[in-house]
Amino acid sequence: MKNFFKSGNPYVWLTASALTICLLMICGLVMLIMIKGLGMFWPHKIVSICLKDNVVVLGELVKRESVPYEEDAYRSKLKVGNRDVYGLDFKWINDDDIASMDYPLSAITIERREWGNMYGFLEGLRKDNKTEVVGMDEARELVKESKMLYERIRHIEKKEIGDINHLIEKNRIKLRSLIMQLPSEKLQKKADRVKEKIEALEKTYSEKEALLTELYTEARKKEFIIRLADDSEKVLPVFQVVRMYTPNNMHIVSKMGFYVSKLWEYVSGEPREANTEGGIFPAIFGTVMMVFIMSIAVVPLGVLTAIYLKEYASDNFLSRIVRIAVNNLAGVPSIVFGVFGLGFFIYFIGGSVDKIFFSEALPTPTYGTGGILWASLTLALLTVPVVVVATEEALSSVPRAIREGSYALGTTKFETLWKVVLPQATPGILTGTILAMARAAGEVAPLMITGVVKLAPSLPIDHHFPFIHLERKFMHLGFHIYDVGFQSPNVEAAIPMVYTTTLVLVFTVLTLNIVAIVIRNKLRKKYKTSLV
């Protein structure tokens, strides 16, 4: 026994098992997210189950488990969809109750713009009060047509009416600022002109609205007739259909095609149905943009702080206290930073900015409310210690010989710092930035009070001058996970969405990191020194 401990082997085992536990936990987590998340887009088979009391149900099998507190009894969770009819998306079925089970080839899954999925059989098409029989292919064509119409409506709603609203709002603010000034004849004339403009805009607005009503009526003209599991018939406007497919009758190749198209819709599309369906593009965009703004703010701040601490401040009691304080900032709960951001950035700075530059829009705040800029700055504050510590380390790792070489040529401290020390410290500084970015991308709590929202009407970058709108509220993947998983009205149906969103968040952070790491390695190669 004594020899065993003397041999040193136990310590190898101890350390190795610690590593193994860490690896297992991380791999397990990633695997869980991958499996649950990536499965979401695969077309699941529709099962038709005939129960012993002759009730037929149709849906996707989601999960199978043993019945709690009973032996040898199993039950399955079936996603029956048709929330508008049944009220709930899911149904538990005990194995004991099942009489027969099959996979009807003609069963279709219909993704709808509202009310979630519908499972059933396509019976026909109703147009102008006449019913006719349609095949799947025809039905798909119809869906495609209606999709184009939908895109057009969306374009009018979002882009055209959005632009008009934007202009009206701008002119309103102009009008108010004119009215706020001392009245004079010239101003009165100007105000009249603005008023005219607003009226003209409002007129185009109502025209567009009329057009929209017209388009909507047209869209509702065609309706599918769907037979549900219990043989009742349901009328579904073609316009409501996002996608329809017969998963039981799909080839593996078409399943893969389906998978890719759903995945694409997911990463590039906008959310539907209180975020539980559709895509998450705005959240990806918001996260990446926030991380960028945060990096732009945190890197100069952190690097300058570290340079002063390391290169200029003498090593005395005060500088040591400052260093400890900076390091400990990392331990402050992030929500505290959120509260600070709310008080300092939003109310104090944002409020003052509003008073000075956007007074005509008051009491509606412009910068005096949460927005992507304030959220990013709050996170920058949160991650500044990471950058400071990494930069200090990077500065210390620049060999003394290199600095002396520069000083010996008659350079000042600043010249040496700027021309040889900093370039060589860049890889280390980038490492700090990477860590800061990873930390910031996953942070949710402080965002909730500094500008993140469940559904942002527009992205922080668009075609309206000045193109980058830092005052806008934004969506964020981390908050999206919280919102979809815990705040949505239909949590159960949203569970796959939680996993996929998590996967996307992890993937986004990974991508950001890989980009930074590639840049760092390039630099490291460039500044590799032969000195130790």
């Binding site: 010989a401 070489g405 520069s406 350079t411 040889v420």
Partner: protein, 255 residues
């Protein structure tokens, strides 16, 4: 005996302390212009400390103190009115280990001139060529000026460092054991180059290789325990040492 030329550096009653330890004790001697002066002695005797006093590199170390005075061309370099960066521009230095910047060869050589504010490309090219030629490196690297200085051999790196110092057109070039990390061939090249160099510059070299001191230098100072034991014409010192300690050291080494 060689004729002593005008002294360019006067070292007068120099004491140097690291904290409380006295590293140099009462050093007194002159360094002649456009000659090679070598410092020899066992390691730890204060050669580096002394040579680093000549361009005030020791100012970078905390907690040091200097007494006495060093004059370059009659000007006290430890006078409070002395501008240290100006001094270092006049007194260049090459270190024991090659320490090129992680930049290209070209950028290494023109680093100093750039800091001086020279921006014209043709002028910088000129300076670079001249300095590298003087450092006996031009023919070897003229096609590789824009590769990283870290990708060439140690001997070449050291010559880049020498070229980097020469590019500033200093009055004095200090070399602290420039060959100790190099192989004999690279060492021979640098020695030849030093002999060429003294036509234009005053050279001070620290070495613990006595053959090297004997081969290249005009004057040699022998140090021990922070004291200057003997300072004389090189041939004189090596053939007819006046002090017992010097003789012991020289003969001990020569076997």
């Amino acid at each position: 005996m060689k004729k002593k030329s005008e002294p360019i550096v006067n070292i007068i009653d120099l004491n140097f302390y690291y904290g409380d330890t006295l590293a140099l004790k009462g050093i007194n001697f002159d360094i002649s212009e456009k000659k090679i002066t070598a410092f020899i002695g066992p390691s730890g005797c204060g050669k580096s400390t002394l040579i680093r006093c000549l361009n005030r590199m020791n100012d970078l170390i905390e907690n040091v103190r200097i007494e006495g005075c060093i004059k370059i061309k009659g000007q006290d370099i430890y006078d409070p009115s002395m501008n240290i960066t100006e001094l270092r521009k006049r007194v260049g230095m090459v270190f024991q280990k090659p320490n090129p910047f992680p930049k290209t060869i070209y950028e290494n050589v023109v680093y100093g001139p750039r800091v001086l504010g020279i921006k014209k490309k043709s002028l910088l090219d000129d300076i670079c060529e001249k300095a590298l030629t003087r450092a006996a490196l031009w023919t070897e690297v003229k096609d590789r000026l824009h590769v990283s200085a870290l990708e060439i051999s140690g001997g070449q790196q050291q010559r880049v460092c020498i070229a980097r110092a020469i590019a500033m057109e200093p009055e004095i070039v200090l070399l602290d054991e420039p060959c100790s990390a190099l192989d004999p061939i690279a060492t021979a090249k640098i020695e030849d180059m030093l002999v060429e160099l003294k036509k234009d510059y005053t050279v001070v070299i620290v070495t613990h290789n006595m053959q090297q001191a004997a081969r290249v230098s005009d004057f040699t100072g022998f140090f021990m325990m922070g004291e200057l034991v003997e300072y004389d014409d090189t041939t004189e010192l090596f053939t007819k040492p006046k002090k017992k300690k010097t003789e012991d050291y020289i003969t001990g080494r020569f076997g």
